[in-house]
């Protein structure tokens, strides 16, 4: 590789050709401030508009200052990252940005985690000569998952990169010029009318409080206080490997037991596990897969293959909007969150002798699309939703902090029974490749009636955007595809449409990395090591489980015997399966939509 020698702040440095000044400086411990620049290494996310101008540096011989995040190094370059000219320019740029930014930091959802606030602290901004001039003015928009307050937008355009390049959803784009310039939907549509999938990746990368999640914590606290209501909470697999980060623990720390204790201390009547319903999902989805496969092998030409997973609500929104003609392909099984809600408000409510209206069902999810999912009409019975509130990992952390609970020092406890017992197969739902691995573990044993020689399917694991593997199920070659990030999902779907692939089953997760990097997780601020640590933790948690195959979960076996009958049977269909809609957005010219 070609190496280039240059001088940064009087220090010589040698880096490979093509490196930016920003990265070259980092190799010798010089941390140039940035704002718009955003990169998730290894996951193919890179936002580099070079537009905020906070990272400018002085390059000898160059007329103006150079943005370090996009300027590549040149041989014998002489760079100054801290001259008066540079510092003055950065301060002025920052003052100008702050002059068009609301001052309500104390009530901002990003207070304390805001990257603009951190810059203001770093540069010691005390007074701002540019305050008092014109400001942009936009209406705040609230959707079931996401709040858009564009008055706080700094036009870093990270959300656009996520929406258009990483997810290919195309809901957000910059429009207008000057003060009216803003990132918005086409024709300023409401997010719900736009092709938005509510994956929330825009929220996960927003450096300021322009894009935030809808906060349900006050409503939940009220529900807990209400003695007439029974509160039931479920926690998704990816939450347990990330919640600790909010309390200063190392990324990848598994806090399952402590989290359960904290939820009980908060006053939830029943603390259950979404992993339980993930096992249930495997039973339903696995049976559906086996059913479709058997038909296919018997020569049925009309059978819908490949079967696509349907656990990820953002992915469901995506195909409903972008590939409605393929809405017969995904499994009709509900997502684990909704399966849990349906069982909690039927089977479990009957068991403890209360009506569904007297039960408040809460889910803790690494996800913002789950908020949207639980508000969908098909998941309501007489207007009463199966899951009343869905909160993110961040919101749970905030509730725990408000209650003066120090997660790190808590003793561990177990989930309540019966909807709390789970297996290792359910834990790995939290990462890309996990759902299909769990399904294969069960499908293998159900089809062959033999015990698996090796539980770990290493060939299905990894963080590459699209992966494929062929699993030998006793002679039957099962072709599996996996995609995460909707860009990769789109590629796979286009291939299926063109008849270019021969997969039997495909798992798709909307967020890069799967739920571990969901939009409701603690903010990673572009550090992909955090995501890798969570990823490893998920598989560690799987290894630690005594039972690692969904169909061996005794409580799942019991509910089929006691209540549901058989997988994909009549009762299951009623409670655990759903259907999809064509929601392609067509905007008529001249309509006021």
């Amino acid at each position: 590789m070609d190496m280039i020698k240059l001088t940064i702040d009087n220090r010589e440095v040698e880096v490979p050709k093509g490196t930016t000044i920003l990265k070259a400086a980092q190799t010798i411990g010089i941390n140039i401030p940035t704002l718009c620049h955003f990169e998730l290494e290894g996951l193919g996310v890179h936002n580099k508009p070079g537009s905020c101008r906070i990272c400018v540096v002085e390059v000898a011989g160059r007329r103006n200052l150079a943005p370090a995040c996009i300027t590549e190094v040149m041989p014998d370059m002489v760079v100054k990252t801290n001259s008066m000219r540079v510092i003055n320019a950065r301060r002025t740029v920052l003052e100008l940005m702050l002059s068009d930014h609301p001052n309500d930091c104390l009530q901002c959802a990003k207070n304390g985690r805001c990257e603009l606030q951190k810059l203001a602290i770093r540069f010691g901004i005390r007074q701002n000569p540019y305050v008092g001039g014109e400001q942009s003015n936009y209406q705040i928009e609230v959707s079931p998952s996401i709040i858009r307050d564009m008055n706080k937008c700094v036009m870093c355009r990270r959300c656009e990169t996520m929406c258009n390049e990483m997810q290919t959803v195309g809901a957000l784009s910059a429009i207008e010029r000057g003060f009216p310039a803003v990132v918005s939907t086409a024709f300023n549509q409401h997010l719900e009318d736009s092709p938005c999938s509510f994956c929330g990746q825009c929220v996960a990368v927003c450096p300021v409080g322009a894009l935030t999640e809808v906060d349900h914590t006050p409503k939940i606290l009220r529900a807990i206080m209400d003695e007439k209501k029974k509160t039931v909470v479920q926690v998704a697999p990816a939450v347990r490997v990330a919640l600790g980060e909010e309390f200063g623990m190392k990324p990848g720390t598994i806090v399952t037991g402590k989290m359960v204790t904290a939820l009980k201390m908060l006053g939830f009547d029943y603390v259950f596990d979404t992993d339980w319903s993930a096992d249930l999902t495997i039973m339903e989805e696995g049976t559906e897969l086996i059913g479709r496969l058997t038909k296919f092998l018997n020569g049925d030409k009309d059978v819908k293959l490949p079967i696509l997973t349907s656990c990820c609500p953002a992915w469901v929104n995506f195909f409903e909007h972008h590939f409605p003609e393929m809405k017969e392909l995904p499994s009709t099984a509900k997502s684990p969150q909704q399966m849990f809600g349906a069982i909690a408000k039927s089977y479990f409510a009957e068991k403890i002798g209360i009506s569904r209206e007297d039960m408040i069902s809460v889910s803790v999810m690494p996800c913002l699309a789950k908020k949207y999912e639980c508000s969908r009409d098909e998941f309501k019975v007489n207007g009463n939703p199966d899951v009343d509130y869905s909160i993110s990992t961040r919101e749970l952390a905030s509730m725990i902090k408000q209650a003066n609970i120090d997660l790190a020092t808590l003793p561990e406890s177990e989930f309540d029974s019966p909807l709390g017992e789970s297996t290792g197969a359910a834990v790995i739902f939290g990462t890309t490749g996990g759902v299909i691995e769990a399904a294969v573990r069960t499908a293998y044993e159900v089809i062959t009636k033999k015990s698996l020689p090796k539980i770990d399917f290493e060939e299905l694991r990894g963080l590459e955007g699209i992966r494929s593997a062929t699993i030998d199920v006793d002679g039957l070659k099962l072709n599996i595809g996996i995609a995460h990030g909707l860009k990769n999902a789109r590629k796979l779907l286009e291939d299926i449409k063109a008849g270019k692939c021969n997969f039997h089953a495909i798992e798709i997760m909307a967020c890069p990395g799967g739920c571990i990097d969901g939009a409701g997780q603690p903010l990673h601020h572009g550090n992909s090591d955090i995501i890798k640590a969570r990823w490893e933790a998920i598989y560690r948690a799987d290894k630690e489980m005594p039972i690692r195959k969904s169909h061996e979960n005794p409580s799942i076996q019991a509910i089929y015997k006691e209540y549901l009958g058989e997988p994909c049977g009549h009762k299951s269909h009623e409670l655990l399966h759903t259907h999809y809609f064509d929601r392609q957005t067509v905007v008529e010219v001249g309509s006021d939509k």
Partner: protein, 130 residues
């Protein structure tokens, strides 16, 4: 920059504003993303370099030596030259000029919109801008 310049042309600028304007122009030249942005402050920078005393006049004396800043202009009638023909008063669109026939007229500065009609109509060169 526009807001600063606007303030200065209205006679409300301070010496701090001038420093700020100069700093802002330099930073924009240094940091703007596109060529248009980088060259946009050039007119301000070169006038600051070459006509600094005019900027100072706007701030300190509240005067526009070039007579171009509307807010700093005043139209006045020289009572010695005015014959009281009433041409200016009849043509003033806002009725800012008062006076009796054959007596010197006067312009009410609070009403005057500095449109310049009176100067055009005066046949005796009695009106000037200060």
């Amino acid at each position: 920059m526009y807001e600063l310049l606007d303030k200065i042309t209205k006679g409300q600028g301070t010496m701090d504003d001038l420093d700020q304007l100069r700093n802002l122009s330099r930073v924009i030249k240094d940091t703007a993303l596109c060529g248009l942005g980088q060259t946009s402050p050039n007119p301000v920078l070169s006038t600051i370099d070459n006509f600094w005393d005019e900027y100072v006049a706007h701030v300190k004396d509240k005067k526009c030596p070039a007579g171009q800043c509307k807010a700093l202009k005043q139209y006045v009638i020289d009572p010695e030259k005015c014959k009281g023909c009433t041409a200016c008063a009849r043509n003033c669109p806002v009725g800012a000029i008062k006076g009796t026939v054959k007596m010197p007229h006067e312009i009410n500065q609070e009403i005057c919109i500095k449109c310049g009609t009176c100067i055009e109509k005066c046949k005796f060169n009695a009106i000037s801008i200060i």
